[in-house]
Assembly symmetry: C2
Homo-oligomer: 197 residues x 2
């Protein structure tokens, strides 16, 4: 490789991003070098800023730039509904559909006997706390339609039964599919037609 | 979108990289935020450094961190051979194969009547100058096996005929294929079996 050490190191780091391999990382780095003023410098500056500022919301687990995220801070979103998702990517997917007006709770994964993930490894205890502290009336279980996702949904439903109305996303979520990959229309339809567990 | 402005802006910039769309940019940014200490900060620092330091070699057009690149500076690579490529990505592909020991000349594109790219838009005049100033005995035309690439190769061959030995890559380069996408073995074979134009 004729490029200098820094460029080689940059290619190596870029190849660690999901969706990029060594080959596409090289193309991306070449593209960045060609547009270093317009793209590379602003990108580097933004990354530095986000790396310094980004943190998980202490309440819901969403990613933002403050200890409590914008959604948890917004009073108009305290409508008694909490939507439980596995991952921040799922929260973003639901927000893009624009249908849900309540708050979220990000679990940070699913229960998995195989990987040794128990309820205490996820933020399920904090969810149970939030039910009383935030006057929650409805919990929407928006977990992925995978076996682990549905196992987790059943566990949470058991924990919260009788305390709140429990709903799950309506049909429309394909079996085995993952929320983050769905189109916004399907997510809207599934949220609108949600049904009692 | 619930993420703050900086994160949204970062996703938008990442989506401009070749190989990443809005969806994969979101996944990449989430991955970066989760690994902000281990991946995001070093990546941002390296980008800043490369953006400040990277430049095109004044002699051959390769990308490096000095006015004259490592290959043009290396005396042992002044063996009288110049390998002409369209793009820095092609130069990197040839360097990975490790067979070629001479110098390069990056054209920066191909002649194209349709896009209005003439010989003066590429670095063909500088290539002609280098033939005498660097005592070049052989020019290897390693252009892509596309119509534009071969048209450009013919034009360069016309310009240099009688002054140097002109060779082109051997069969092994698939018709319509692009150098940067070939495996190293095919590139080695094609370089080793190059033939006189």
């Amino acid at each position: 490789m004729s490029a200098t050490k820094d460029i080689d190191a940059l290619i190596e780091l870029m190849a660690k991003l999901p969706g990029l391999g060594p080959r596409s990382a090289r193309r991306a780095v070449l593209h960045l070098i060609r547009k270093r003023g317009l793209l590379m410098t602003p990108l580097a500056d933004l990354m530095t800023e986000v790396a310094a500022g980004a943190r998980e919301c202490l309440n819901c687990g969403n990613i933002g730039t403050a200890d409590i995220c914008d959604i948890c801070n917004a009073n108009k979103r305290a409508n008694g509904q909490i939507c439980v998702v596995e991952d921040v990517a799922d929260l973003w997917a639901l927000e893009r559909s624009g249908v849900f007006k309540g708050r979220y709770h990000v679990l940070g994964g699913t229960l998995s006997a195989l990987d040794g993930v128990g309820p205490e490894d996820l933020s399920i205890p904090r969810l149970v706390d939030r039910i009383s502290s935030e006057d929650v009336t409805e919990v929407i279980l928006a977990l992925n339609a995978t076996i682990d996702g549905q196992t987790t949904a059943h566990y949470i439903a058991d924990q919260l039964e009788g305390r709140v109305v429990l709903t799950s996303l309506a049909q429309g979520v394909p079996i085995g599919g993952e929320l983050d990959y769905l189109d916004d229309g399907t997510i809207s339809a599934a949220l609108t037609a949600r049904k009692t567990v």
